[in-house]
């Protein structure tokens, strides 16, 4: 059974269609990258997978639970880092994680173990008692990540998890994602091509609300393949441009 099944997902805002018939499935062990320009519909798709926004049409099934019929059961299995890692600014990370643990009904030894594990994984021990709004961007992001992985969910949805972080922080977050990859189904969104190469083992190129192409790494680190397009390592950008703008290389040169 696929961990995440998305079927013909559509979301309109008024007359504008932000997500236009997206379908895919994600298995355990997959780190799926949503790659797309700003405004492609990545966040909107994630908001529907996590049950924040109701789809205009289509279906989301998480570990067998249809989000429309059993939202609470489905949400129990998901960890979600919304774009920008919102949190309660006046709380300390400790109080914030305690709140999330309360809502998720974590109890006793299990609760203590999970809290310790999440805090250790994102390494926020030193700032646990400091109000979140006094933390640096990197720590804020890590607090958001801690909240997402707190209950050790099978499904992780991370919206631009490394956006705005410095190179060391980016590296730390990517390492964490790779560590967790084997036991979970993970979706991350990004507009950074190198991120896909660094952490994903599958990727969808999304633009204007549609999946334009699906790709994965070539054997032996020889780069990535999207449909008929192949890209050498670190050369995804040309393929990305060609797929999202529909222009060939010669057309681009002429322009």
């Amino acid at each position: 059974m696929a961990m995440i099944e998305i079927e013909k997902l559509v979301r309109r805002f008024g007359s504008f269609t932000a997500v236009d018939g997206v379908s895919f499935t994600v298995e355990r062990g997959t780190v799926l990258g949503f790659l797309g320009p700003n405004g492609a519909g990545k966040s909107t798709t994630m908001k529907m997978i996590t049950g924040f926004l109701a789809p205009t049409a289509g279906r989301v099934v998480v570990e067998g639970f249809d989000l429309a019929d059993s939202p609470v059961e489905a949400k129990r299995r998901i960890g979600y880092l919304p774009e920008g890692a919102p949190a309660y600014a006046e709380m300390t990370p400790r109080a914030f994680l305690d709140f999330v643990a309360d809502v998720r009904q974590l109890k006793g030894d299990d609760r203590r173990r999970l809290l310790d594990q999440a805090i250790a994984r994102v390494d926020i021990g030193p700032v646990l008692e400091q109000p979140i709004d006094t933390l640096s961007k990197g720590f804020k992001r890590r607090v958001g990540l801690a909240q997402a992985i707190l209950h050790d969910p099978d499904v992780l949805i991370l919206d631009e998890p490394t956006d705005g972080l410095d190179p060391n922080q980016k590296h730390a977050v990517r390492t964490l994602i790779k560590e967790m990859a084997a036991s979970k189904a993970i979706i991350i969104s990004t507009h950074i091509l190198e991120e896909v190469e660094a952490v994903c083992n599958r990727s969808l190129i999304i633009a204007r609300g549609r999946v334009l192409s699906e790709g994965g790494p070539l054997p032996n680190g020889a780069g990535w393949r999207f449909g008929e397009h192949e890209a050498a390592p670190d050369r995804l950008d040309a393929v990305f441009r060609r797929i999202t703008t529909g222009k060939t290389e010669s057309q681009e040169k002429a322009a």
């Binding site: 805002f13 996590t50 924040f52 926004l53 609470v72 949400k75 919304p82 709380m91 309360d102 809502v103």
Partner: protein, 245 residues
């Protein structure tokens, strides 16, 4: 499945005390009740051992203070985006709505409870009817719940706390004064009697006035309880509809 309500309730209630705002608020509340009771209400001059001058001004106090307490409940979540986090946790929307409302209501109950020195004073000075005073306190708390439910709902229609506050004051004002002669005279001229009666029946002033006089009518209690239930329901609908934008 009340665990979500308890978690949200605890977070919200401690949120009130996380900043000095809570203490400032309580001090203002106590100062205003004091001023109204002693200067405007003529507590001593009346020469009667009761708390009527104290309770009489509660609707007017609440009119400004309840919107202030409730304005952040949802508007803040929308502004910071934490609503996305909150509503993707495994809780039902009504659990969250209830938890937030109960937290605001408890905070009000704490402020109200801190007026107990007045009660002690009046009991020391004379022989007040304690039953009437208890009814007054419970009636006041129930009415505060009505104001809060209205304001919590209005906080969910905007991400701007100031707008939430202003909307709250306006709607609360309508519910407060709907039974007063000023309003009724205005509409009697053109509206059918049944509409006039309906509008008059919404009045907080009339119903609370009766409770403070010691007349506890079950219909008044039911009125406030159903008013709270209605606005909490509207609150959930508003959150659901306005989540996206």
């Amino acid at each position: 499945m009340i665990g979500g309500t308890i978690a949200v309730y605890r977070r919200e209630l401690s949120g009130y005390f996380a900043t000095p705002v809570a203490f400032v608020f309580i001090v203002i509340f106590l100062l205003l009740t004091g001023i109204f009771t002693f200067y405007v209400g003529g507590f001593f001059e009346r020469g009667q051992a009761d708390l009527k001058p104290f309770f009489m001004f509660h609707p007017w106090l609440y009119l400004l203070l309840m919107p202030a307490i409730a304005m952040r409940l949802w508007a803040e979540e929308r502004k910071t985006g934490s609503i996305e986090l909150l509503l993707t946790l495994p809780v039902r929307l009504w659990e969250v709505v209830l938890g937030k409302f109960l937290a605001a209501w408890s905070f009000t109950a704490i402020a109200l409870a801190l007026t107990f020195p007045l009660w002690l004073t009046v009991s020391y000075l004379g022989q007040p009817d304690q039953g009437v005073i208890v009814a007054g306190y419970l009636g006041s708390l129930l009415m505060a719940g009505g104001y809060l439910a209205i304001c919590a709902c209005l906080s969910a229609v905007t991400s701007n706390q100031v707008i939430a506050f202003v909307l709250g004051v306006i709607v609360c004002l309508m519910f407060t004064v709907s039974g007063t002669p000023i309003v009724l005279d205005l509409i009697t001229a053109w509206a059918p009697q049944s509409l006039v009666d309906t509008i008059a029946s919404f009045s907080f002033l009339g119903r609370f006035g009766a409770i403070v006089d010691g007349v506890v009518d079950l219909r008044d209690l039911v009125y406030f309880a159903s008013l709270i239930a209605f606005w909490l329901f509207a609150n959930a609908v508003a959150v659901d509809l306005r989540k996206a934008g």
